[in-house]
Amino acid sequence: MRASTAERLTYAADGLPTHRTVPGIVVLPGTREELIDVVRLLAARNVPFVPRGAGTGLSGGALASEDAVLVVLTRLNRIVAIEPLNRRAIVEPGVVNLKLSAAVLPLGLHYAPDPSSQSACTVGGNVAENAGGPHCLKYGVTTNHILSLEVVLADGSVVELGSPAGDAWGPDLVGGFVGSEGNFGVVTRITVKLTPLPRAVRTLLADFLSLRAAGEAVSGIIASGVVPAALEMMDQSCIGAVEDSVYAAGYPRDAAAVLLVELDGRFESAVTSDAEAVDALLRAHGARSVKAASDPAERERLWQGRKKAFGAMGRLSRDLVVQDAVVPRTALPDVLEEIGAIAARYRLRVSNVFHAGDGNLHPNISFDATNPDEHERVQAASAEIMKTCIASGGTITGEHGVGVDKLRYMPAIFDGESLAAMHAVRRVFDPDQRVNPGKVVPLHACREWSAA
């Protein structure tokens, strides 16, 4: 238990610097049984609580207020079972994403969802947020890799959702639970799917003199039918930040954008052929150069720049807002231009580094949170960026979640009935709305839902 002010302050924020609240008390159960006991005690006392993994979330989803208990799950970090024949593993929620992949690597397997924070974030947090990552373009996001869940509900009851092999047992409650941001309960055990490691991999870096051309190249690759393992874009501002940092990857600084394209598969010949097709498409869309990583070390270096881009951008300013939105892939060129215009209008530095193949944008705004005027401009620019993405047919979050940060945008994509339906579903799992209160669904926007 952590009760002192100094200790509680450590947990006042997650990866998003714009929201801070200090939890009333912090509890770190050490076993599954302790976790269940804690939840039962909180139920008996009718105390609201917030489950939290490593706190790397980017939507303020793991924040607890003074009247709530923060239940930190990082000590529940056991890999319970690995079954290579059934291609699955059973883990506790505090297992770090990358540690799971490392544990199954000798078996030629991996856990495919790979958020940029994978060296720190937990599988439990990934489940709550339905986390994505660069390689989700080909392999799917968290929800595509969760077979079953053991959860403890707000009232302290323990329920097994789904079935051992991942087939729904009745309606798909596992699918409903994943991405519910803690609102439906706390996961105590997670059964994940393991995926064979590809035997052949090609990584290409293409650079473009215009953002639009890079965006069009993305659309061209997607429409061609080749499904890259990953298709990432970084703009000039992001390239500069990376190249100025210790993560310098040799990206051309004068490029308007670079695309990092990875192709993988079971067969060398097929991956080579895909790589040739993509190389040709990139050049046809105006790539100035296309470089192929010639060895694993070079591949690692190219990826390091991408994976550490957020860290590198930390050097640009005191604070950084990592935004998250999704647009149809064909809309990328227009939306990127519009984001540039919004940045100019609000006199802000916006750097784009994102999962282009999924249309999943991450416009990152560098700012100084101690400057009230700048803080306000960041909020206004973020809202305009969201509006642009919605207008293109997109959505307000692809992998970071709603948390508290995106609550205000929910009514822009869902009508009152739909929000009320979500709220009613939440109350089936948590009638008193005690788990992670005040997140995901803005209650004031819900039309009355008398049924539940």
Partner: protein
């Protein structure tokens, strides 16, 4: 005012279809999602019980109801983005129509559910019926980006969206998928697509089940990642003995390399089906399910697949069975009784294998339920969701056995 008069006033004369027989309830065909909402909100207020149907080729139209809501006029495809590889289609669109429209634009929906070609999209989503391609491309839920559905009391709800990734709000799309109509009427779906495969081949081997199971182990050890790998009982295979079928899909170099490895892993014993033959093979196996009175699916672990097939053969026979040993799942069709189904479900539940009843006469499905023998604590959650999505029980369905 009679029921028909009220509906005619509400939705117009066009929405009321001709009766097929005198004792059948009136069949209403709303032409837009809003009209479905209007109809169900009226049914909710009037206390009418509503049976939902698509093209009428899958679930028998025998559930007792005051009226039938058919989705057949919800047959529009409002958006087909072949560059973006997404499509938005209403739930009454037949899969055959959708497939043709997609193929014309070079796109492909990697779903091959059991049933006739004209089975509607809504039916496939509501029952979460994936076919052999599930191994390579995922189950129905993995193809869905978002849905619109109407609750039993007539609320039109949107979930998800039409972009590749979306975590805005709870995932109601997945709750709806495979709920067998208990959580509302699906009216529209946003789906992710692939480009039409440039190479698509099927290799087969006939033999005893034991022999074929050994071949499967060899193929699995080679980590070929086929699009489908099925064991078929003799009838769907149209052979004397069981058959192993391996479908390889992708770019020509990928398929060529996979064929090469398959030859080695299979000891050169598998042979390819040529051209139209492969398509007819899979189609025959899928369509046969629509001709049997009872269809169910079971989902176990891969390492228990052989034992699961033994159990099914022993308890209900293997007249029409397709199994995916790599996934651990199987689909069965034939004739059997309520008692046998209930007993089988209990036996399987003890092995942590769910049995989902996919198709049966009302007398069977109302007594067995599409689902049942839940793990502890799950029943109340499902009951709560039912109450949320259909508070007054307007929708006639058999998700669970009648009390």
């Amino acid at each position: 005012m009679s029921l028909i008069e009220k509906i005619t006033t509400l939705l117009g004369q066009d929405a009321v279809l001709e009766r097929r027989s005198g004792d059948e309830p009136p069949r209403i065909a709303p032409a837009a999602p809003d009209a479905v909402a209007l109809l169900l909100s009226t049914a909710n207020a009037e206390g009418w019980k509503v049976r939902v149907e698509g093209s009428g080729t899958w679930m028998p139209g025998d559930a007792p109801a005051d009226l039938i809501l058919t989705t057949r006029r919800l047959d529009k495809i409002p958006a087909l983005e072949s560059q973006d590889l997404t499509v938005t289609a209403e739930s009454g669109v037949g899969l055959d129509v959708l497939r043709r429209e997609l193929a014309d634009r070079g796109a492909w929906l990697a779903l091959d559910p059991p049933g006739l070609a004209g089975r509607t999209l809504g039916s496939v989503v509501a029952t979460a019926s994936a076919g052999p391609l599930r191994l390579g491309y995922g189950s129905v839920r993995d193809h869905l980006l978002g849905l619109a559905f109407v609750t039993g009391d007539g609320r039109l709800i949107q979930s998800g969206g039409k972009v590749m990734k979306n975590v805005a709000g709870y995932d109601l799309t997945r709750l709806e998928t495979g709920a067998f109509g208990a959580f509302g009427v699906i009216v529209l779906a946003h789906l992710r697509l692939r480009t039409l495969p440039r190479a698509d081949v099927t290799w087969v081997l006939e033999g005893s089940r034991e022999d074929l199971t050994n071949a499967v182990d060899d193929i699995n050890a080679a980590m070929l990642e086929p699009a489908a790998l099925e064991l078929l009982s003799p009838a769907p295979a149209r052979r004397e003995r069981w058959m192993l079928a391996v479908r390889l899909v992708g770019s020509p170099p990928h398929v060529a390399a996979a064929e090469q490895e398959l030859r080695i892993a299979g000891g050169g014993r598998l042979s390819p089906l040529r051209g139209e033959e492969a398509q007819r093979f899979w189609q025959h196996a899928a369509e046969g399910f629509a001709t049997k009175p009872v269809v169910f699916r079971v989902g176990g672990l891969p390492d228990g697949s052989d034992g699961l097939l033994d159990l099914l053969q022993h308890q209900v026979g293997d007249d029409w069975m397709l199994a995916s040993p790599t996934a651990g799942s199987a689909r069965w069709a034939g004739d059997t009784s309520v008692d046998r189904l209930l007993k089988l479900r209990r036996t399987l539940a003890a092995r942590e294998v769910p049995l989902t009843l996919e198709r049966a006469p009302w007398s069977v499905r109302s007594a067995v339920g599409h689902f049942g023998a839940y793990r502890e604590g799950v029943g109340p959650l499902i009951a709560g969701l039912r109450k949320t999505f259909d508070p007054n029980g307007v929708l006639v369905q058999a998700a669970e056995a009648a009390e």
